[in-house]
């Protein structure tokens, strides 16, 4: 399915401006601002306690913000109670009504809206068909599997045709196999309906594979708001770099644009970021960008290394190396399985690693991200 993105420049559907929330002295949300386009699928990604769920509940009106404005579809909603906002919601616990069948759950909000009984029944049937559990329509939640329950919850959330769909860790309670399948189905469904969606998750794979754009959060702040590939390839902070994907990091001293000093070695680095000369910075590289070469060698961006362990895991293998000239701690490299033999990689073997200048990233040292 092709990615149908709304054209840029269109008015944003949901805008948060300076949203903050305090619990007593604790600041759970700190000046959160961003805009989401209509039809976009956005993930809030972050470690537990980063404020992502609180942010979702603030958008839904289930919790109130201490400061800030929220606009949805041109309407100021920050002061409205949840029941006057326009959203559907799905929880990790599904929160299905246990005393109602799947159909009754889906139709619960449709009753008393002036729709005829047959209209409601048809709508429920369509929705259950859409999420692929039409054959379980008459069952109670306790008779359904976790994945089936979550599908009912999704059907119920979209039954009222909300402008915004909120998903609070919807897949976390499911086992890995069901999770992977539901991930795909949910994304397809979202594209098909074109409904603006926000999903909270702590699972980076989920966020990267499902979202059009990802908001990485830490300590109540937005660290970065970008497409999954930008977040991975060009993380804006050391926190994002470490939270999303694997990375090797060591401390360095910034010399000038294009050069940093690691230990007593000067290495080339083609990052666009610039610092005052002699500032302490972090220099990082993804494991898959580390290039392994047979035989020990040293000079420039090439360091001699010793293989500590080789961890085989299917297509890729993860190799732990000690590279004393680069870092006190071991660094990791990822290589295709067939290269192991080609490069004669074995534990205790001496070889060299090249760290391509254009793949090295620089970050400023932050209190919480020193790794």
């Amino acid at each position: 399915m092709s990615r149908l993105k709304p054209p840029d420049g269109e008015a944003p559907y949901l805008t948060l401006a300076g949203v903050s929330k305090n619990y007593g002295a604790i600041r759970v949300l700190d000046e959160v601002s961003f805009s989401i386009r209509k039809g976009e699928f956005v993930c809030f990604l972050g470690p537990s306690g980063c404020g992502k769920t609180t942010l979702l509940r603030v958008i839904a009106g289930l919790e109130s913000q201490s400061a800030g404005d929220i606009q949805q579809d041109g309407r100021e909603i920050a002061r409205l109670p949840a029941s006057e906002r326009d959203f559907g919601i799905v929880f990790q616990s599904y929160a299905l009504f246990p005393n109602l069948t799947a159909t009754e759950n889906v139709g619960f909000g449709l009753k008393g809206r002036g729709l005829s009984r047959t209209d409601i029944a048809r709508r429920c049937a369509e929705l259950l068909e859409l999420v692929g559990i039409a054959e379980h329509a008459a069952k109670y939640p306790s008779q359904l599997s976790g994945g089936q329950q979550q599908r009912v919850a999704i059907a119920r959330a979209i039954a009222m045709q909300p402008g915004l769909l909120l998903l609070d860790e919807p897949l976390s309670a499911l086992d890995a196999r069901v999770r992977a399948r539901l991930r795909e189905e949910m994304r397809d469904l979202q594209r098909k309906l074109g409904i603006t969606t926000i999903m909270v998750t702590h699972d980076q794979d989920e966020a990267l594979s499902m979202a059009d754009r990802v908001i990485v959060m830490n300590r109540g702040r937005v660290e970065q708001f970008d497409t999954p590939s930008t977040i991975y390839r060009d993380p804006s902070t050391a926190f994002v770099a470490h939270f999303v994907g694997d990375i090797n990091t060591t401390q360095a001293v910034f010399q000038d644009r294009g050069q940093v000093q690691v230990g007593d070695r000067l290495i080339a680095c083609r990052s666009d970021r610039s610092y005052l000369a002699s500032t302490t910075v972090l220099v990082s590289i993804r494991p898959e960008e580390v290039v392994l070469r047979p035989r020990a060698a040293s000079g420039g961006n090439v360091f001699s290394a010793t293989v500590e362990t080789v961890e085989f895991s299917g297509i890729l293998s993860r190799i732990r190396l000690s590279v004393p000239d680069f870092s006190q701690r071991p660094i990791h490299a990822c290589v295709l399985g067939n290269q192991i033999e080609a490069l004669n990689i074995r534990e205790g073997e001496e070889l060299s690693v090249a760290l391509p200048a254009e793949k090295l990233m620089l970050f400023s040292v932050e209190g919480d991200a020193a790794c």
């Binding site: 839904a60 006057e84 929160a95 005393n99 939640p141 045709q161 909300p162």
Partner: protein, 567 residues
């Protein structure tokens, strides 16, 4: 198809939910007001009355001084403490052994024993007292066992109170004995500790809290019980009968207020003590605990079988002897059978109407009480904001547990019989009996409702808000059906207690609202033991039938409307 599933919610769907929320807060406010009127104000009037003379003049602590110096009253206080202490020690010891039998042995017939031990709950506290009179009274079949002592007095009171308080002790103690971690016992065994040592080192400490809680509950229950001393106390004064004598016999309402405050003391103390103990209570059982497996042990199980058998037979005998006494012509001289004592019309002119009043009271109390308690608990759990109001309503829902029925009844006299109170129209009516009974038994149902509500997914509120479904519809279609078993429990609890209660209503009934339970006291006082027994058997049977019907109904409705509970 997709067209119907996309796009925006029509604006007419966005509806008046803020009004909804406000009306819920208003409802909560109304319940708060109800509690102020039915709990706080009456108690204030009681307090004020205790520092006034009987003409309403302020006399400071003179009444309290009179209480200390008047021989009968001080003696009654000492007697109450004495009776309650002895009864508590006996009840908690027997209750612990019985709870141990139920939870930690493999004695056969455990579920039968459990059912038998609950018999006293189904009858007014007067029934065991009547049974004791049949057994050990002047004409009792076992009076020789008394060795010349009279059953009318401390011995009789203690025996009746032990029976009366026994079920509660067993319930509390078996709950705390149930929580156990097999690993602790395995570890003790590995360290070669014998059964006595592991009992002292593991079992006792782990139910320390249950023991404290049972001790306090039993003490307060006995200290404030009116039924048993009224029937079997003879001339032995205790505070519970003294308050009645001061108010109804001597019209000394101020002294009644002082005695009422004395009755409150143990409840308040136990509240404080329980808080203290609870704070230090670290559970020995965690989520990873391994449930106890009880190995068979012939000697132990045989000993407990004998113990359980004796207790069970005693309880059956109590009801049996009372029932028997109510159908013999003239105990113990003419044992030919007759239904004559059940002809209540012949006993006095109130006749059968007292039974009808009791049924009416039980029905009204259980109906309105259940609705009020459940709504109150629902609002306490779900109203958004208004945190102080919610806390206040919750607190006032807990207060009735600490107010003895006699004190509540007396304070209702002071408040509702006040000519300046516009509410005094309810005085002497069925309404005030229903009100006082609901308030008297409010706390336990409130806790049952809260427990049930807390098990409901708290995200239902959010889901209903997103579906723009009103909270009233959520209460009706989701919350109430899920909580149906708890609601039925509350209903049953209120019905049974309204049927058997004596203490609060004894100050409040009028000639037109005589109750069956009170009639038993009256007839017993007049020496009409057989009709009194007949009436207690009628109440006992009524409750037993009611419980049976209730359980059948519940089983039925679970079968037809609650099939979602089963997989």
């Amino acid at each position: 198809m997709l067209n119907s599933l996309t796009g925006h919610a029509p604006s007419h769907i966005v509806q008046k939910s803020a009004r909804d929320e406000r009306s819920l807060t208003l409802l909560l406010g109304a319940i708060f007001l109800f509690q102020i009127v039915t709990i706080v104000l009456p108690l204030c009037f009681l307090l004020i009355r205790s520092v006034q003379d009987n003409d309403g003049g302020f006399v400071g602590l003179a009444n309290f001084r009179r209480f200390m110096t008047e021989a009968g009253l001080a003696q009654a206080a000492i007697n109450s403490v004495f009776i309650s202490s002895i009864s508590t020690v006996i009840t908690v010891s027997l209750g612990f052994a019985f709870a141990y039998l139920l939870t930690r042995t493999r004695t056969p017939f455990r579920s039968t024993f459990r059912a038998l031990s609950m018999i006293p709950l189904l009858a007014p506290s007067l029934l065991p007292a009547l049974a004791l009179i049949y057994l050990f009274g002047q004409k009792g079949v076992l009076r020789d066992l008394m060795f010349g002592h009279s059953i009318y007095g401390p011995i009789g009171i203690v025996m009746a109170e032990v029976i009366f308080a026994f079920p509660q002790a067993v319930l509390i103690l078996s709950t705390s004995l149930l929580m156990a971690d097999q690993r602790l016992y395995d570890a003790a065994l590995a360290m070669r500790a014998g059964p006595v040592r592991s009992f002292l080192a593991i079992t006792l400490p782990s139910c320390r809290y249950g023991l404290v809680s049972a001790t306090l509950a039993v003490f307060v229950k006995v200290f404030t019980d009116f039924g048993a001393p009224a029937v079997i106390g003879g001339s032995y004064p205790v505070l519970a009968t003294e308050i009645f004598k001061q108010v109804i016999g001597l019209f000394d309402f101020s002294m009644g207020a002082v005695v009422g405050l004395c009755l409150l003391v143990p409840a308040l103390l136990s509240f404080i003590i329980e808080r203290r103990v609870l704070r230090g209570n670290v559970s020995m059982v965690s989520a990873q605990s391994v449930p106890l497996t009880i190995k068979p042990n012939r000697a132990r199980d045989l000993a407990f079988l004998i113990f359980g058998g004796v207790v069970g037979i005693c309880f059956v005998a109590l009801v049996g002897i009372t029932a028997f006494g109510s159908v013999v012509r003239y105990w113990p001289y003419n044992l030919s059978l007759t239904w004559a004592h059940y002809n209540f019309e012949a006993v006095d002119n109130t006749g059968l109407s007292v039974y009808a009043h009791s049924i009416l009271l039980a029905l009204l109390t259980s109906l309105f009480g259940t609705a009020l308690v459940f709504l109150g608990a629902f609002l306490v759990e779900t109203v958004r904001g208004a945190a102080q109001l919610r806390a206040a309503v919750h607190f006032l829902s807990m207060v009735p547990l600490a107010i003895p029925g006699l004190v509540l009844g007396l304070s209702y006299i002071f408040f509702f019989n006040n000519p300046d109170n516009p509410l005094n129209v309810v005085y002497g009516t069925m309404t005030i009996l229903v009100l006082s009974t609901i308030v008297h038994f409010y706390t336990v149902p409130h806790l049952i409702a809260l427990t049930a509500l807390k098990q409901i997914d708290r995200e239902f509120n959010a889901v209903c808000a997103s579906l723009r479904v009103s909270r009233y519809r959520m209460l009706r279609s989701i919350v109430a059906p899920i909580c149906l078993p708890a609601i039925v429990d509350i209903w049953g609890y209120l019905f049974v207690n309204a049927m058997t209660t004596v203490s609060a209503v004894i100050f409040l009934f009028s000639a037109d609202t005589q109750l069956a339970s009170i009639t038993i006291v009256r007839w017993n006082d007049a020496g009409k033991i057989a009709p009194a027994s007949a009436m207690s058997i009628v109440i006992f049977v009524t409750i037993a039938v009611f419980m049976l019907l209730k359980n059948l109904l519940l089983a039925r409705s679970i079968h037809s409307t609650q099939q979602w509970r089963s997989r």
